[in-house]
């Protein structure tokens, strides 16, 4: 029997929901548990309603699920809203002194959170008491909790927090021992990493040798910028928060042209302001890695929630035609690896690469096996050999080649002059007007697509080779789809999945092949239009049987998908 426990911490913004949740994740991960945790919060700093869900298991997990085992309610609203999500043995931990008048029930485990916190030194530590209380209820190793607290709070504050956690632990241990069946001991000695998607991307970028990031804050990708900034000094990373996103993309291009691996990160609105820059990267053949974190639109939409509404925008945006790659990691782990791949594709093909993620990938946390950095490839593509230029005219930045790839020289690093232009230009980089040169340069750029397409991974098949129903997905839905397959197969319905993590240049042949064995096909997407379905048809001519769509800003769970499949509750074309 697998061990699996499902927690929720609920409260107002500013109550520390996120920090309790994160510490719980960390403590559980240290005990060898696999974690998947997600965040639900509003676009405000105080008040409103937030929650943080933590799923811990002794086997890998990739989505949040229902029902809850523990609800740590930091305010009343959390009980009102989520008590119904508890499973049969579910437990609500709350402060009976603060929250009164709720319908009685066996699920209510009152803990005097503030009182205990005050005794430990300060009632602001009520959260820490709560954390201790949960640990006590599941009989979890106190040391793990203490470790996490010491890392989070330095010095005397740390000690006070340890005392607060102890108070909570002791209280539940003493008062509720045996009243709950969940006991979490050390699961294994694994020392996994606990990461959010933005952590994984920032780490991937640093591992890939990216030492330049320019970014204007925007949910959900700001943490990438912030993480890189925190390492700027030790890792010699140039971090610029400019006046707007237009500056950000053009700075990224300027740094990449000069020879650095450079990136920017934003979400939909900011990406809008960057699309002119994509074309600039396209025609000047400058690598540029852009992280696009999706949230529900249009325009500002729901700034702190999840969506997959910008796939076609990512693929088709910018003036004119130029090669680009669009990569969409399915998991936090893959976010790391596809970030490294993004830099390689960008530099090999000297063109923009968009790493498109959804808010769920960006802001969820999961445990992953430690990345083997020796497996990270840094391929800078074709470089013009140094010092070889006698006459400046010898080097041609946009030289015509069979692959479409011209060796790069960087300004100031040799005698070769790096000359390029946003106007159509000749091989030397100077602007032109004639049809012949124009054709040559268009065709040269377009030839790069062939090379890129060969590097794009085919769709990944999950579940049985053949099935009645095939779910087709992209982005963070991967985790929920996989578990939906398990749920359905336990019921005897044979379902499998095709998942696309590398979407452009579209792996049309591989997809066509993969679709051949499929019967009923449903895309699963967080949008209202079924963009992946549309893209598949554009690229292969294949029409899916239906679309499972969700556009309320909340992620899919396995149960929601399974249910839609069961009831065939799909949107027809």
């Amino acid at each position: 029997m697998s061990i699996e426990v499902n927690f929720m911490i609920g409260g107002e913004a500013g109550q520390g929901v996120q920090s309790v949740g994160f510490m719980l994740c960390k403590a559980l991960a240290r005990g060898g548990y696999h974690i998947f945790a997600d965040q639900d919060y509003e676009s405000r700093i105080r008040g409103g309603h937030n929650f943080f869900r933590v799923r811990a298991s002794d086997s890998p997990v990739g989505a949040v699920i229902e029902p809850l085992n523990f609800l740590l309610a930091l305010n009343r609203e959390s009980i009102d809203l989520h008590r119904g999500e508890l499973g049969p043995d579910g437990i609500v931990i709350y402060d009976r002194a603060k929250i009164t008048g709720i319908a009685e029930g066996d699920d209510l485990f009152g803990v005097p959170l503030e009182e205990l916190a005050e005794i430990a030194g300060n009632k602001v530590m009520a959260n820490t008491v709560a954390l201790g209380a949960v640990a006590g209820l599941i009989g979890y190793d106190r040391e793990k909790i203490n470790q996490v607290l010491t890392e989070q709070f330095k010095g005397p504050v740390g000690e006070a927090n340890i005392a607060a956690a102890k108070a909570g632990y002791d209280f539940t241990e003493q008062n509720f021992k045996g009243k709950t069946g969940f006991r979490l001991k050390q699961a294994s000695d694994a020392r996994r990493l606990l990461l959010s998607g933005t952590d994984a991307i920032a780490l991937g970028a640093i591992a890939a040798g990216c030492k330049f990031i320019a970014g204007y804050p925007m949910t959900p990708t700001t943490p990438i910028l912030e993480y890189m900034a925190s390492k700027a000094k030790d890792h010699n990373i140039v971090v610029v928060q400019p006046e707007d996103e237009i500056a950000a993309i053009n700075m990224t291009i300027g740094a990449a042209y000069t020879g650095m691996r450079a990136m920017t990160a934003t979400s939909g609105s900011g990406f809008c302001l960057m699309v002119e820059g994509l074309g600039l990267a396209g025609i000047t053949e400058t690598p540029a890695v852009v992280v696009l974190g999706q949230r529900p639109g249009p325009a500002i939409g729901l700034p702190t929630r999840t969506a997959q509404e910008e796939l076609e925008f990512a693929i088709y945006s910018g003036s004119g035609e130029f090669p680009r790659a669009v990569l969409a990691p399915a998991t936090i782990e893959e976010s790391f690896w596809l970030t490294t791949k993004a830099f390689n594709l960008a530099e090999k093909y000297q063109t923009p690469v968009i790493l498109i993620i959804d808010h769920t990938i960006a802001t969820s946390y999961t445990t992953v096996e430690r990345f083997d950095l020796s497996k990270v490839v840094i391929d800078r593509g074709s470089l013009y050999p140094d010092k070889s230029v006698v006459k400046p005219e010898e080097y041609k930045r946009h030289q015509l080649t069979d692959s479409g790839i011209s060796p790069r020289a960087f300004p100031g690093l040799s005698r070769a002059l790096a000359i390029t232009d946003s106007d159509e230009h000749d091989e030397a980089g100077h602007l032109i007007e004639d049809a012949k040169t124009r054709n040559e340069q268009v065709e040269k750029r377009m030839r790069k697509i062939t090379g890129m397409r060969n590097e794009i991974a085919p769709p990944r098949r999950c579940g049985p080779h053949t099935a009645e129903t095939t779910l087709i997905g992209w982005g963070s839905n991967y985790g929920a789809i996989r578990e939906a397959i398990d749920i359905l197969s336990k019921e005897g319905t044979k379902v499998n999945a095709l998942h696309l993590s590398e979407l452009w240049p579209f792996p049309a042949d591989a997809m066509t092949d993969a679709l051949k064995t499929c019967q009923t096909t449903y895309v699963v997407e967080n949008n209202a239009a079924g963009q992946l379905a549309h893209l598949i048809r554009a690229e292969t001519g294949f029409s899916v049987s239906g679309r499972i769509l969700k556009y309320d800003g909340r992620p899919f769970t396995p149960a929601i998908i399974a249910d839609k499949v069961r009831r065939k509750e799909v949107v027809a074309w």
Binding site: L193, L203, T258, L280, S374, P392, D421, L431
Partner: protein
Amino acid sequence: MVTTETARVTTADYAGLVPAWCPGCGNFGILNGVKRALVDLSLEPSRVLLVSGIGQAGKLPHYTSGNVFNSLHGRPMPVAIAAKLANPELTVIAISGDGDAYGEGGNHFIHAMRRNHQITYLVHDNQVYALTKGQASPTSDSGYVTKTTPQGAPFPVNPLVLAIAAGCGLVARSFAGDTNHLAEMIKRGIQHRGFALIDILQPCVTFNRVNTWDWYRQRVYKLDGEAGYDPSDKTVAFEKAQEWGERIPVGVIYEKERPTFEDSMPALAKGPPVKLELKASEAEPLLDEFV
């Protein structure tokens, strides 16, 4: 010609394509000024990066030598800024028209100056959108009639005043008709530690029939001839910068050094970032923090 580190840099090194400008255009004077300044400073073309925008001015880099990034309309500044951060050993010169710099690029202009990047910014100020055939620009004089402003252009932006307000370290004006002066200003700009703006009065003989060669010649006077003018006094500079009309001062209007953006970047401590080795193992200690 084989140029080596020690060879003298000559104007020949700065030869380029034949300009596609109109005969008589003020841009020719600017081109000469740029060449003169770079030769005078003995800068090898390969050590220079010219980043331009789109417009008649933006074509300049093609007509001389050096590394060239001819960017988007209004966007040379962020490209130039990043290039300088990536390789501070480069001499980075950004080149715009008045529309490019103060219209489309206005936001970058303000912020580049306040952050004080180590860039020399040459703005070919012909008070008109020339490449798109003569619409009003942000510096068009009040009442200037064009096809998009038949009722006359609104109140203009004064780039020098704005630059002083935004914290620009070196604020200068020059005139396309005086190559010596211009070359001097460009050199001052390159040598200034921090951001330097050189707004260059540039007659557009085709579209600007108001601010002509003669119009400028009659008005322009040199500030350094002005006894006791102190360009380090911000208030004085603010007043001087507003002078426009009967008399138009050229020269360094304001100069005051302050720490540059580059100074504040810890990343530059180990030399030009572009020269750092890239290795994945660098992330190893970071992984530990996530365990």
